[in-house]
Symmetry: C2
């Protein structure tokens, strides 16, 4: 008999995953080229050639015992952490050292490590809808309570009035994700400043520490020269979770890092506990070969023009069909208003055309659907006539 | 402020960290070659050449999008899981399919996944002292209660009378680790049969399911043709956690698997929940490149003769000095009786000779110390005169 806590999790098991598996089933029947699977954020852009070169160099030049061995510290190789810190400093004018960096098993691993580090049972974690549904599971893992800020469907910037009202003495952390999954929206500098001011005031009011956790797997995926503020510069109690899943197209390799600045409350204790949490959660250390790979590829970028072409084509194509959506500035998602209130019914209708999309309910924002456009350009182009047929069911 | 639960964990970790820092300090003063660090189970045998070949082939021949992408199922690549199942079947006469295999982030990841899957708060998990201290942390992660069976210092086979007495209606899991860390003992087939009979009877008595979790990172590391029984064949409710950390010298790469046989109670539910636990704990999937690597290296073996020479040399060397210990049949640890009751004082005394060893208290077995002999042969040979000096402090 499985744990009670897991029963719900299994029952509600990610709609996204279920959809992805449905996509594989349909591909088996109709051929992969006739299925338009926009369900999962699995990049279709290959890793930069430099990744392959780096791996081969490491295999040929490094001592295999060191390359594949446990790292001395559970937080990762000292030289990799120092290189990551230097790279972040060079880009954002920060002042981190290796002590501020914990290499993690992707951003999901990093978020689990930091929530395990911080949360007592009953502590509240705030997230702004729409948000990546896994935050709820991660919070639940440590008996935290997820507190939702309702979505601002005008522009999908966070609702700061509601945020201010919902901060309580039990608020331990606030998770932000910008560029955002599922909307593609980048939180403006003005938003960040106001958010920081609210949190500073609430910390003083309640005499508590409220940690801002910035989940940044999409930091490098921005269009039209959009700027993504580096949050540690606006609010002292900020912890950054980064991933190379999208920036280097290595999602399966599980490699990322946490930044725990010295300005964070009880920073040394938090850094030490994150190191221990990495060990006892069973990660032990981020995969060693990939740690070395990313250190060698810090200057590499994914092919953003590929995603940008997809973005423009899908966005304009859907608008022409009559669908409503915000043009995203980042990430690789479109968040489209469902033509009917029950967006799950809309997702079902789309499936008739072999179009797979995810209901907004999975992101605490019903009435919308998410399309991940990290697919091939051909998929986008070939899907548009199908979207047109689908639209004809709703728009006269 | 970090979580209450983490405060203890951080405090207890400082002893290990202190040992690590002490090793670095001593190496700085005396040179690394004059420090005899037996503290960590980090293999000194390089990964087989086939690992390097496999990685290069995968880089040259596989589609990088698939190679480094999320796996379709959080349980891992279907072909890798099928290959692992086939390999296990070929070796042990079992009948597993890919449905029975979940690829994991090492054995530590696998143990966390299965404990997350099974444990309700207050559920009891039995371990036989001496045992790997992390089992306590993993159990605590899911609010389980660790129940210890006291050590049988005669031969370090488990005390089955005490085991039988300590099983209660709250017993959810029993962890065994054979070949054992820290003793190197292999549980005999007779032991396993008796253990299975006790658990079967207790399941009937209480009307409960008691899962036997076999933690097997050392399965391939056996000497003198010792046989390690495959536990699923003796007890239906057995789940196996395997790791390639030692068998292919890839501890830093974090790759292993769980076997959840169809014979396990509620097997489909357990398999589904382990898949979900892999996702929500933040592992998402075992590192993809390494999944493909191990599938290509299923026939490979580490150089066991290297460890065997270390074992023989250290064992006989220590016996000649007057130390008492069981000759290990597996793994790469010697568990030595401390010449004084307070083994921590003995570890301190050893440090004077630049010998670093771990107190048995870390394994719930005070009065003993653990030596990891997965070091270079030179370290073993050069340490023996130092052990002789150390012994002279105790044996007239």
């Amino acid at each position: 008999m499985i744990a009670e806590k897991m029963k719900n999790m299994v029952a509600n098991s990610s709609a996204i995953r279920a959809m992805f598996e449905e996509g594989n089933r349909l591909a088996g029947i109709y051929g992969a080229e006739n299925v338009y699977d926009f369900s999962l954020g699995n990049p279709n852009v290959p890793a930069p050639e430099a990744v392959k070169t780096a791996i081969k160099e490491l295999l040929d030049e490094d001592d295999p015992v060191a390359l594949h061995g446990y790292t001395n510290s559970n937080s990762g190789y000292a030289d990799v952490r120092a290189a990551v810190a230097k790279s972040v400093n060079g880009r954002f004018g920060t002042h981190f050292t290796e002590e501020n960096i914990v290499m993690t098993v992707g951003a999901a691993g990093g978020l689990n490590v930091i929530l395990k580090t911080l949360l007592n049972p009953g502590d509240e974690v705030i997230a702004f809808a729409p948000y990546f549904g896994e935050y709820r599971s991660y919070t639940n893992n440590y008996d935290g309570v997820m507190v939702e800020i309702s979505p601002n469907t005008a522009d999908f910037q966070p609702k700061l009035d509601e945020f201010e009202q919902k901060i309580t003495p039990k608020t331990k952390a606030v998770i932000v994700n910008t560029p955002n999954n599922p909307t593609g929206v980048v939180y403006s500098e003005d938003t960040i400043r106001k958010m920081a001011a609210i949190m500073d005031a609430k910390q003083r009011e309640f005499g508590t520490d409220i940690y801002l956790i910035s989940d940044e797997p999409y930091r490098e995926l921005v269009y039209d020269n959009a700027e993504v503020p580096y949050l540690t510069k606006y609010y002292d109690n900020t912890i950054v979770g980064y991933s190379y899943s999208k920036s280097l197209s290595l999602p399966g390799e599980r490699i990322g890092y946490l930044v725990i600045p010295d300005e964070v409350a009880d920073s040394e204790e938090v850094q030490a506990a994150a190191n221990v949490a990495t060990r006892i959660l069973g990660f032990v250390n981020a995969p060693t070969l990939q740690q070395k790979v990313v250190a060698k590829c810090l200057g590499e970028k994914t092919d953003i023009s590929y995603y940008d072409r997809n973005r423009e084509t899908l966005y304009h194509g859907l608008k022409e069909c009559g669908f409503e959506c915000i043009k995203p500035e980042g990430a690789f998602y479109l968040f489209v208003k469902s033509p009917v209130e029950d967006e799950k019914a809309f997702c079902q209708a789309a499936k008739k055309y072999n179009i797979l999309i995810v209901p907004g309910s999975s992101f605490a924002c019903p009435g919308y659907v998410r399309l991940a456009y990290c697919v091939s350009y051909e998929t986008i182009v070939n899907s548009l006539p199908k979207f047109k047929e689908l639209a004809a069911e709703y728009f006269a």
